[in-house]
Amino acid sequence: MKYLLMICGDESAAEHANDGCGGWSEEMEQRGVVRGGAGLAPATDATTVRVRDQELLLTDGPFAETKEVVGGFVLIECADLDEAIEIAAKHPAAGYGTIEIRPVLDGPPPDAH
């Protein structure tokens, strides 16, 4: 089962940007559950795109003005939600921000290389 961990935090989370992930990455690498992921530049650098009636609409900033924004993401593959919760809870960001766990829908097999 694949899950996307969306690591969220408010402005104060920025000070943790260079903290690294403690032993988390190493442990998860070893367990073979990580399928990808990255940290993100601040939401102030975001550009939001919409196309309506064939017209391209751009907005500076994130799609919704909220205090908490996504600061990074990790794609994991594990047995079930209990394991995903355990993995998320161990992430250092869970200690100061929040982590949203979203199940990833089963798509067609990835054949584009």
Binding site: A79, D80, L81, D82
Partner: protein, 451 residues
């Protein structure tokens, strides 16, 4: 399958009433287990429920003719499973699935009943998974474990059937889509997961318990359902003293429920209740369960609350209540549950054990903290303590404050009565002057507090 050894059931032909009773009993005792096993086997919650329903319908039709089976649960599970195989075959879900279900034939219903793995525990833990919203956990538990219809659950929680249908549907969807495992959590997760199950059961109990006499019968039956499910849980987790503690707590409350409301519908405070109406058998049962749990020496919030309930249940009359002991128990409870409501109850106990002034100190701390703003029992408790301290004008003002915040008519009626009693026309000279710090004075006042 004819029951040779069950005297009341062995005379053919069975009359319809007897069969109906047997099916109703089987529904109460076996529904959860049948559904729980089917979910494990076929992995589809809706199909499991539908097939279980079909099995009970089949029982109504066939038991009058064939006799009541020796083990109704096994009969129902087998019938439901066969129904599931038919349905899956008809809907051609997949050969692999079909083989899987068919392979369960002997696995599901082994010969000796003690070999049947009890799937209800995994169903309980899954229904009460903390990744589901509390209201969804409650609804799902009632539907799948207790077998209440969606319409009944909707009525109990005062929402439309459609809303309840959606709530239950969404919960089942999430279990499937987010892959919430269908299992009893491993040992290291039990300490964080068991409280979630207990919280759902206690909430169910309280929903029924707080329903007034005029309320829908379905709503009042929630208490009985909660007790039944907790009994099942206690039998499945015999080494978990908090489960026993919760069961004892429910039984001790339930034993006293009959005296809580007068014929006029007014709530009767504990100290004024007719204790001869309490159910002594249930009290004895609750205390026995509690004592066995306490002997394990792993105290927890439910065991402590049950111990407090036991103090009340065993007091011959209000003045016989062991308030010092209750005070000690509340002090212990605040270690596990440092919530303002627990502190408020602690203040009541201290007010009884050490005199109203001591209780007021704690209540005023709570008022100052602002934690229970808008909660009518805060001014109501303050009012009671002031009244017992003979500060009648202040008491009346506090009762009025409580009246403005009370949400049910029964509570408002009770508070109006208190205001009348505290404001006799001639009263007045005590305003703000008399504060009673003498502990021995309470003995003269307690009987008066009952009126």
């Amino acid at each position: 399958m004819l029951p040779g050894d069950e005297p009341p059931l062995d005379k053919p032909p069975l009359d319809g009433r007897l069969v109906e009773e047997a099916v109703a009993r089987a529904f109460r005792d076996e529904w959860g287990q049948v559904v729980a096993t089917l979910i494990r086997v076929i992995g589809d919650w809706d199909l499991a429920e539908e097939c279980a329903q079909d099995a009970f319908a089949a029982a109504l039709e066939r038991w009058p003719r064939d006799g009541i089976p020796h083990r109704p649960g096994a009969w129902l599970t087998t019938t439901a499973r066969n129904r599931a195989i038919d349905r899956i075959r008809r809907e051609a879900v997949g050969a692999a699935k079909l083989r899987e279900v068919a392979a369960m034939v002997d696995d599901v219903v082994p010969d000796a009943p003690e070999d049947v793995p009890d799937d209800r525990l995994r169903l309980m833990f899954t229904c009460c998974h903390p990744a589901l919203a509390l209201e969804a956990r409650v609804a799902l538990t009632l539907r799948t474990l207790a077998g209440l219809s969606t319409a009944e659950i909707a009525r109990a929680f005062l929402v439309t059937e459609q809303t309840m249908q959606k709530r239950i549907g969404r919960a089942k969807q999430k279990i499937k889509n987010a892959a919430i495992p269908y299992r009893v959590p491993p040992a290291q997760l039990l300490p964080e997961r068991t409280p979630s199950v207990l919280a759902v059961l206690y909430l169910l109990f309280n929903e029924g318990y707080s329903a007034t006499a005029g309320a829908d019968l379905v709503r009042r039956n929630l208490s009985a359902e909660a007790i039944r499910l907790t009994q099942v849980l206690a039998s499945l987790m015999p080494d978990e003293p908090e489960v026993a503690g919760l069961l004892a707590l429910m039984l001790l409350h339930d034993a006293r429920s009959i005296g809580r409301q007068g014929d006029d519908g007014l709530l009767i405070p504990l100290e004024e209740q007719d204790r001869s109406r309490w159910d002594t058998t249930k009290i004895a049962e609750g205390i026995e369960i509690l004592e066995a749990a306490l002997r394990r020496r792993e105290p927890g919030p439910y065991q402590i609350q049950a111990a407090i309930a036991a103090c009340h249940a065993t007091a011959q009359n209000a003045s016989d209540t062991d308030w010092p002991q209750i005070t000690g128990l509340y002090a212990e409870l605040t270690r596990f549950m440092p919530t303002p409501v627990v502190k408020l109850n602690q203040a009541v106990a201290i007010g009884m054990a050490e005199g109203p002034a001591a209780g007021l100190l704690l209540v005023d701390e709570l008022v100052a903290s602002g934690a229970l703003a808008e909660y009518h029992l805060l001014p109501a408790t303050r009012a009671d303590l002031l009244r017992r301290a003979d500060r009648l004008d202040e008491a009346a003002a506090a009762y009025r404050e409580a009246l403005a915040q009370a949400t049910t008519e029964a509570e408002r009626a009770f508070l109006r009565k208190r205001i009348e009693e505290t404001c006799p026309p001639a009263a007045g000279p005590f305003v703000g002057e008399v504060t009673d710090k003498r502990k021995d004075a309470q003995n003269e006042r307690d009987p008066a507090a009952d009126r």
